[in-house]
Structures are given as C-alpha cells and as structure tokens.
C-alpha cells in the first residue's frame, strides 16, 4: 500500500521536475573544441554543375535571322490576318492589350521560332479577352511595315488592331 502511495506521489511530482529542462541554442550542438570547418566553398551553389553537362551537349541551336525581308508595299494597307495571340501585356481586368500574332501556336521546340516577318506586333486600346491560347483570332487594322536598316534594328510588322474577333472554322 505504502509503495503504491509512493509511486503516485512520484508520478505527481514528475511535472515539477520539468523545470530542469535545459534550453539549447543550435550552436550548443557543436563541441567547443571542434576543428575549424574546411576552407570555405561557395554555398547554395550548384550552378557549376552545368559545366560538366555543357561539354557533352551538342552545338547550340542555330538562330534564324531576326531581320527577315518584309513586303514594303503593305505599309499602311488596311488588312485582316488570322493567327494565334501570344500575350505580352494585359489590363487589370485581364484583357490582352499588347500581343504578338503568330501563324502557329506554341513554342514548338523542334523547329526554330517563326522568323520576324511571320510575327505581327499588335496593340489594342480596348484589349481582347483570351481564354485559351489555342484559340485563333482575326485581327483587323492598318499594317505598319518597319524596314530594317541594320541587323539589330526594329524590323517587322506592327498593327494598331481596330477589330479582334474569333476565328471560326467554316
């Protein structure tokens, strides 16, 4: 009986013993006489990993000329062109106000991207609601042809789109 009482008392006292818990800092986990760490190496840095791979990779993809010839006669002509919208900028309500119109959707990685004379850089004040990138649209407006004077100048077609509407299959 007295043994049982003792056990109960001990059990009751146990919570008070917790006061002896020692609070540790992470630095306490390292012995004071630990040898200094090896000479520093750059941390968070696995980026050099690529070196090993780069040597084995094939040649970089050939670039197509970004300043392809353009049809100057189209300058100022009111045109209508179907294509896919690649959004560049949008308004707060999610309408695309600036985009590139391209002849096929998706960055197909088997062939280079469309050359510069196959892209129209269009802006639209009102914007267009694009729910799906796979959806082709007609854009209508005056085409502006910017002639390339040097290899890196702005070359290609621009349009201030006046009308943008869905392209439907006949």
């Amino acid at each position: 009986m007295s043994r049982l009482l003792l056990a109960t008392l001990l059990a009751l006292a146990a919570p008070f013993a917790v006061a002896d818990v020692r609070e540790l800092q992470w630095s306490d986990l390292i012995p004071a006489d630990a040898p200094p760490p090896p000479p520093p190496v750059a941390l968070h840095d696995m980026s050099q990993l690529a070196d090993a791979l780069a040597a084995e990779a094939g040649p970089a993809a050939a670039q197509q000329s970004p300043a392809e010839p353009v049809v100057k006669e189209l300058d100022g002509v009111q045109v209508k062109l179907p294509g896919y919208i690649v959004p560049l900028d949008m308004s707060e309500d999610g309408r695309v106000t600036e985009f590139l119109l391209v002849p096929y959707f998706g960055a197909c990685i088997h062939v280079p991207p469309p050359p510069s004379n196959q892209i129209v850089h269009a802006t639209s004040e009102l914007g267009v609601k694009v729910d799906e990138l796979y959806q082709p649209f007609w854009i209508e407006g005056p085409l502006k042809v910017e002639h390339a004077t040097s290899e890196l100048a702005d070359a290609g077609y621009r349009m201030e789109a006046q009308k943008i509407y869905l392209y439907e299959l006949e």
Binding site: L43, A54, Q63, P87, S91, D93
Partner: protein, 421 residues
Amino acid sequence: MYLLRLALASLNNRRFTALLTVFAIALSVCLLLAVERVRTEARASFASTISGTDLIVGTRSGSVNLLLYSVFRIGNATNNIRWESFEHFAEHPRVSWAIPISLGDSHRGYRVMGTSSAYFDHYRYGRKQPLQLAQGRPFAEDPFEVVLGAEVAEALKYTLDDQLVLAHGVATVSLVKHDDKPFRVVGILKRTGTPVDRTLHINLAGMEALHIDWQNGMPARGAARIDAEQARQLDLQPKQITAFMLGLNSKIATFTLQREINGYRGEPLLAILPGVALQELWSLMGTAEQALFVVSLFVVLTGLIGMLTAILTSLNERRREMAILRSVGARPWHIAGLLVVEAFSLALAGALFGLLLLYVAIAVAQGPLQSHYGLYLPLALPSAYEWSLLAGILLAGLLMGCVPAWRAYRQSLADGLSIRL
C-alpha cells in the same frame, strides 16, 4: 401597387419564416458574389503585377513555377543561376535593360529581394507604371541599405533610418538571423497593390555580404566571423542570382532571344514570356474557380428552393386568406400575382441583404486578406457581371414564384368561399 402592399402585409404576418427565408437567400447570394469578387480581384492583382517585362529568365524548371517565385514571391527557386549568365544576356545587343533578382532571405515573413538599381528604373506594374518612392531614395553603393515596400513599412512600423535584421530562409518566425549585419532603411516605396509592397529590396552586394562568412550551411563561428564593417571592405561581387528580367529593344525579337536563352550552352536556363505564363496559370486555376462558382450557384439554388418550399407549405394555411380576398372582389389572377410579388420581394430582399453582407464582410476581411495573402479587395460597386448575376437570381425568384401562384390560382378558382379547414 395594392398587390405589393397586400403581399408585404401578408408576409409581415409570417415574418419569422419570411426573415429566415430572406436570410438563407442572402447568405447564398453573399457567397456567390464573394467567390466572384475574389476570383476577379485575384486575377486583376496578378495581371497588374508585371508589365513591360519581355522575358523572365531563371533556372530550368516550369514556366508557371518561375513566374510565381520570381514575380509573386510564391514558392521557392529550385536552383540559382550564374552571374556570368546574367552578364552575358544583360549585354546582349537585343536587350535594352536587365534586372537581376536574388531571393531566399526574409524579414518577419516578408521576402527579401536582392537586386540592382535597374529595378527602380525599369520595373513596371499595372499599366506600365514605374515604382515610386514615398520617402527617401533607392539603395546606393553601401551594401547594408534597404528599401521597403509600402506594406512592410506600414505593418512593421519602420521609418527612414531604422535598423533591421534579416533572417535566413523564408519562415515567418526565423531562428537563424543575420544579426551581425543590420540594414538601414533608406527608402520606402509608394503602395502599388502588388507583391512589391511586401518585399524588402537590398543590393545584390548586401545579399552577398549576408552570406559571405557562411560555411557548410551555417554561420561562421568565433574568429571566422566577418562583421559588417569588414564585409564592406571585401569584394562583394555576386556569383549567383535567382532569376532576371529582360526588356528588349524590339518585341518581335522576343522568340529569337527566348530560343537563344533556352539553348544557352553555359548552363540550363529557362526564359518565359510573363503574359503567356500568366495565361497558363489562369487556365490551371480556371478549373478550381469554375468548381467554386458552380458550388455557389447550387447554394443560391438551394436558397431559392427553400423559399419555394416555405411559400408552398404556407398555401394551405392561407386558403382562407385567399377566399376572403376573392370575396372582396379579387380575381384569380390577383391571387396569382400576389404570390409572384411575394416570391419576388423575398428574393429581392435576400439579394439586397446579401449585397450588404458582402460589403460588411469585405470591410472586415480587407486588412487581414491584404496582409496575409496580398489580395486587395476594394469596396467597389458591383461590376456589370455581378449585376447580371443578381438579376439572374431575381429572375429565378420570379420564376419560382410562378409555381405557388399557379397552384393558388387553381385553388382559388375551385375553392370559392366554401372552404372548410
């Protein structure tokens, strides 16, 4: 007009059930509008966060992932990229400007972004708006200067020249702090309504200095420690960054450069068009949004069916009421009209009360939502779409009113005055 008066008087007689019905409709309307509001505002805040940036470049991961961590400070980078890669493309002849981004540290839950002064010159949000300073100046040469986003300064009550200590990692409560290298607040940005408000901006050199004496994934001990003053004397040229943003001379060259970056031989890089990645993110979220919308539509329907049940069950009790109305000259179509008006006023009261609930909820939740999720819900008038939703609910209420109206019409024709209850 007298029909409306009669309907209201009759409802007043049963005000407890009527109030419950109105409340049920109001709750469901509030839910539907709240789902809609959060959806459009979340999209708007995502859409207005980045503008005018042609390409975002990071380590090879996924386009949505890269967009989320580099622009929205959601999630973490999988790897860093080399400084040389940044330099290579920053000096590319087609590139007009480049902003380096280095992430990974935080201050009391707010992310720290290491960048260069190009960030203040070229970063655009909303409709091509530049960042503006409310107070002070951008960080200069000294590595231990910080420019706060509007919300960081407001929530943590920092003013110019305050000192603060950054923490390692991105947890809200940090155990490992860079407390030997305090930063001084030199500027506070104007509010933008974007994640910029919740960011602390430091120099890339400052980011480098923070970690300069770290060894083997932990801060240096004892003599190996390098304090702020010593760090200032060292070469703080960053060796790696997390991502960078590019602005091009010609948008038409976007694909060409994207292709060139993705095929860069120095290291695996990923270049994304922010607009395209955002569109991909939306089509991902679209399914969840639609599910939420459908659920809340069904809740509204449940509310309206509750109203229908309440009116239908009351019809039998009200045969005498109808009979009396008939005896004083009301025609059967009057009785039918009375019930339609009753249903419509219940739906209308529910919709108005729901709208009120929504605004109260927005007013209450605005602060916490903004600080925890960075989502700003304005107390704006309902949009055209929200009005059309409300109109749809009222129309549904009106149509539902036709069911009891038709039954009452038939009954009042048959019953006459000879009713025994």
